[in-house]
């Protein structure tokens, strides 16, 4: 055990457009790398079984739970976290949707919820209510009852598609 702790492996990755290099323990989780090494604390940890989704980020364009990926697995990769979503001081439509529709209360699940929503709308720009609820099954919220999260996603879908109403 003591030997394993002493072993360090170099990793390089681009996070929110900035390149980082570090030497890490092979067991270091990506979420801890982002939070503790890079100080990007917007990505949260809410469970230890990959259920809650508070830690969702993009890795190479795919949304992943960063508590289930080792930092070394992200070597050479491109990561985007909640901190990288707003562009030029403008909120992403998903962020705007959560604000407009009161899609958050305590805000702890929110970064993961927003990242998962963002990923959903990339795959399916005009999801039905059922599709939204299904797509967010891996993100747990204890405050909102999800109703306003669904509305937030619909708001964002509408904004991103230039105003056409989403189907229900």
């Amino acid at each position: 055990m003591a030997e394993a702790v002493a072993t360090r492996i170099p990793v390089k990755m681009t996070v929110n457009g900035t390149e980082y290099a570090a030497e890490v323990e092979p067991r270091l989780l990506l979420v801890h790398f982002l939070r503790d090494n890079l100080g990007l604390t917007g990505t949260h940890i809410g469970c230890d079984t990959s259920q809650c989704g508070a830690c969702v980020v993009y890795l190479n364009g795919e949304s992943i739970k960063s508590c289930t990926v080792l930092a070394v697995q992200a070597d050479g990769g491109e990561v985007m976290t909640i901190e990288g979503l707003a562009k030029d001081g403008e909120y992403d439509p998903v962020q705007q949707g959560f604000w407009e529709m009161h899609g958050l209360q305590c805000g702890y699940c929110t970064p993961g919820m927003i990242m998962s929503t963002h990923s959903l709308l990339k795959r399916n720009p005009n999801p039905s209510e059922t599709e939204i609820r299904h797509a967010l099954e891996g993100n747990l919220c204890r405050c909102t009852g999800y109703q306003n999260i669904v509305k937030a996603v619909q708001y964002a879908a509408e904004q991103m598609s230039g105003g056409s109403a989403p189907t229900s």
């Binding site: 055990m1 003591a2 702790v5 002493a6 323990e25 067991r27 270091l28 939070r35 100080g39 990007l40 604390t41 917007g42 990505t43 949260h44 940890i45 809410g46 469970c47 230890d48 079984t49 259920q51 809650c52 508070a54 976290t81 909640i82 901190e83 979503l85 707003a86 909120y91 962020q95 959560f98 604000w99 009161h102 958050l104 209360q105 305590c106 805000g107 702890y108 699940c109 929110t110 970064p111 927003i114 209510e129 059922t130 939204i132 609820r133 299904h134 967010l136 099954e137 993100n139 747990l140 919220c141 204890r142 405050c143 909102t144 009852g145 999800y146 109703q147 306003n148 999260i149 669904v150």
Partner: protein
């Protein structure tokens, strides 16, 4: 010059000012607090529910890389156990509270036995694995009723039969028994209310830092009550002078009650920091630890005897409840099943003969304390099941049984006979009628009959829940009588700076409720200043007057009223100053639209910003007036407030699989006056969903020897997006006269109303098969088994 009327904000769905930081990842939760030299604490926990600690060997752990120290219960046995600050009133409570680390014996799986402090969190987990503990396993008991039976394993020497207290309210049991025996219709049932895990998505955590220079301690903690945590840590646990401790709650990621209590880690990280010469020490539990050891809720097992007339009038009710309190008493555990449950069992009904008896019990589970709706959730579930059992036994429609027994508008203030505070006001039938109309009750009953006639596989169920709850806690005098070991008022300070900007400090604090927005709306309207000019400060004991914190839906009703009264004082002083500056009589001054002026002459008036400037520089003040515009209020409410309403749930239950689908959910709530409807609806959505979770999905399961079988989010089912319906909400508005805002409170109403609505719907769907009660959660398996046993 005083400007024309600014837009009123109270009552408007203002977007929350908290959200920009939270949607960008810029919020600072406990795990995000960064301090130089931060050391990490991890906890070795008991794998046994009941055992004697024979020996602990930490030598190997102490020698591991990064280990700064290992500490056991023996090392800190001079530190007091945690206090229990609310005991069941008027009876003896056999108090056993947890030590920071177990000494000699453990009483639940997850009991902290030792801690390691290391340079990094990963090193801490490694070091834990190297500690050897020799346990002698002792017999354990799970189930409150079982724990009181002869021969059951005993947890604590001072509590024979594991009984913490026996407490009752209402009439004498004998008198109620006689009324029951004389009733035309008699029903007996055993009604459960399963143990739940609050499951805030942010687990609990704490950081302690000791300053060797000043002898001061700072505690950052996931806290719903920082001042209370300071008081308890200082005066009851560590014996440190209260003024030497500062407690800060950063952004808190949900609480639902579970962050009210004082936990072992909060004093411990302060003590550890002192041992390490001032290095800050952090503890952040993982989800498994949260499930095992952060206080749970509910956990009742009750015998019920109901008497009624043939036409559905309730004549007598006797409820005898075993309440599980876990292996030790959590901070306010005994008060929930007594004051908050026992005294509310009558719900919104007039019941001429009623007796409620509670037995608080130790068992080898996690501690059980108040969880969203605390006590009132269990009471509303009990009484709303009782009403449906009466409907079932008499054949009278459940809506009609409710109407027949409701407290009527002319009955207020109403004493329900259980020794609590009188209900202030309400119109229960109006809310019921509106909910029935919204849902299309008669059509649904017709459809239900048709489906039954046709033998449809999808059986329709309609569940009603009419509720009243008690919230907005204090008043202090009453709570003191009820065994609460402190006051229960709230504080607020309102200060207008020289620049005209407003700082509000409050003893209330948010963990998702949006206090900064709601309170700013209130102050903006009352003072006539722009929303943007107001800063609401909270969650830090430094520089704020003592406050009791947020729980029991008290933030607006009590904390908001304290703010309202402070604003009124500031306004009054501003008017006196205006009278002086305008050379007018004080009685001729009016305050309106953000300024004070002589009646009829707003154009020559002074804005509040001008007055604030004048008050601050103090060049020209009336004789005897102190500089600045600032006021503090400690508001002690005269009574509880009593929100009420009716919720109706419509479900389809699959006859072949027992699976339930929620088709519709209609809620009519009366929370009094509403400051921000967006936030109020959000509170209802979330509360209803948690209650729905209890009815259908959630429940802690312990094996016979006390191991938790639902120890992760894989096994403990909180509601996911696909499991929740769209809610149809409406309000009736009956302002309470208890506080000047007319606000009743909304934080818990949804959770209090929804569990019985959903459970009643599922049971209604299968009632024609001869089923009149089932235990929650109403999982497909449980419903299927119940159907199988009845056909």
């Amino acid at each position: 010059m005083v400007a024309s009327a600014p837009e009123k904000l109270v009552g408007k769905p203002i977007k929350r000012r908290e959200d920009p930081r939270l949607i960008t990842g810029a919020g600072v939760f406990i795990d995000d607090v960064r301090l130089p030299g931060l050391a990490h604490m991890a906890v070795l926990r008991s794998p046994y529910a009941h055992a004697r600690i024979v020996s602990i060997n930490a030598d190997a752990a102490r020698a591991m890389p990064g280990v700064l120290g290992v500490f056991t219960g023996e090392d800190i046995k001079h530190i007091n156990p945690l206090p229990c600050a609310w005991q069941a009133p008027g009876v003896e409570n056999k108090v056993n509270t947890p030590r920071l680390l177990a000494l000699d014996e453990v009483h639940q799986v997850g009991d902290p036995v030792a801690v390691v402090v290391t340079e990094s969190p990963y090193q801490a987990k490694d070091a834990l694995a190297a500690i050897e503990v020799d346990y002698e396993e002792l017999p354990a008991v799970v189930g409150a009723r079982k724990a009181t039976t002869p021969g059951a394993p005993q947890l604590h020497e001072n509590a024979p039969s594991n009984i913490v207290f026996r407490w009752s309210c209402g009439q004498d049991a004998d008198q109620v028994d006689a009324a029951l025996a004389a009733s035309e219709v008699q029903v007996r049932e055993r009604i459960g209310n399963q143990q739940l895990i609050p499951t805030a998505i942010e687990p609990r955590g704490s950081i302690g830092r000791y300053d060797p220079g000043t002898g001061e301690y700072t505690l950052w903690a996931t806290s719903q009550a920082p001042h209370v945590h300071r008081l308890l840590t200082a005066a009851f646990v560590l014996g440190v002078p209260e003024q030497k401790i500062r407690v800060i709650a950063p952004d808190v990621g949900g609480g639902f009650g579970s962050k009210i209590y004082l936990y072992f880690d909060m004093p411990l990280v302060l003590w550890l920091s002192e041992q390490l010469g001032g290095r800050p020490v952090k503890f952040f539990e993982d989800r498994s630890e949260n499930f095992l050891h952060t206080s749970h809720g509910r956990g009742h097992d009750s015998d019920v005897a109901i008497g009624a007339t043939k036409d559905g009038k309730i004549t007598a009710l006797r409820v005898d409840t075993f309440a599980n309190l876990g292996g030790y008493l959590s901070t306010i555990a005994p008060g929930t099943p007594s004051t908050l449950y026992g005294r509310m069992v009558a719900g919104c009904y007039k019941i001429p003969n009623i007796h409620v008896g509670i037995t608080g019990v130790y068992t080898n589970t996690a501690m059980v304390d108040a969880y969203r709706g605390a006590g009132r959730t269990e009471a509303s579930y009990m009484i709303e099941r009782v009403v449906d059992l009466v409907a079932n036994a008499t054949g009278v429609d459940p809506a009609e049984v409710r109407r027949l027994n409701f407290v009527q508008p002319e009955d207020f203030p109403f004493d329900n006979g259980l020794g609590g505070l009188p209900y202030d006001s309400g119109d229960y039938e109006k809310a019921l009628n509106r909910a029935l109309e919204m849902v299309g009750y008669e059509d649904l009953r017709r459809e239900q009959a048709e489906r039954r006639e046709n033998g449809d596989r999808k059986m329709l169920g309609i569940g009603l829940s009419s509720f009243v709850e008690a919230c907005g806690l204090g008043p202090s005098q009453y709570m003191g009588r009820e065994g609460w070991a402190a006051g229960l008022w709230e504080s607020a300070n309102v200060r207008i700076h020289l620049t005209g900007k407003v700082v509000v400090t409050t003893g209330s604090l948010p963990h998702g409720q949006g206090h900064e927005t709601t309170f700013s709306q209130l102050v903006a309207d009352e003072l006539g200043v722009p929303f943007e000019d107001i800063q609401v400060k909270h969650s830090d004991t430094q520089g704020t007057p003592f406050g009791y914190g947020s729980y029991g839906s008290r933030s607006l009703a009590v904390g908001g009223t304290a703010i309202y009264k402070s604003v009124a004082k500031v306004r009054e002083k501003a008017m006196q100053l205006a009278a002086h500056l305008l050379e007018a009589a004080p009685e001729d001054i009016v305050y309106e639209n953000g300024g004070a002026y002589v009646k009829g002459s707003p154009e020559s008036g002074k804005t509040i910003q001008e007055l604030a400037g004048a008050a601050h520089v103090g060049y020209d003040l009336p004789a005897g007036m102190e500089p600045t515009l600032e006021a503090t209020t400690f508001y002690d409410p005269p009574s509880f407030t009593f929100p009420f309403g009716t919720h109706i749930c419509v479900v389809e239950v699959d006859r072949d699989t027992g699976d339930t689908e929620v088709k519709r959910y209609v809620a009519v709530d009366d929370v009094g006056n509403v400051v921000n409807p967006l936030i109020v609806d959000g509170q209802l959505h979330g509360g209803i969903t948690q209650g729905l979770g209890q009815a259908l999905y959630e429940g802690v399961v312990y094996a016979e020897k006390g191991e938790m079988l639902t120890g992760s989010l894989n096994d403990y089912a909180i509601v996911r997006a696909s499991m929740a319906p769209m809610f149809e909400l409406e309000n009736t508005v009956t302002p309470t006269s208890v506080n000047p805002l007319g606000a009743r409170g909304v934080g818990e109403a949804g959770a209090i109303a929804s569990t019985p609505a959903v459970a009643n719907a599922v049971i209604d769907a299968v009632s024609h098969l001869g089923i009149r009660n089932m235990d929650m959660p109403l999982t497909p398996e449980r419903v299927w088994r119940s159907m199988a046993a009845n056909t």
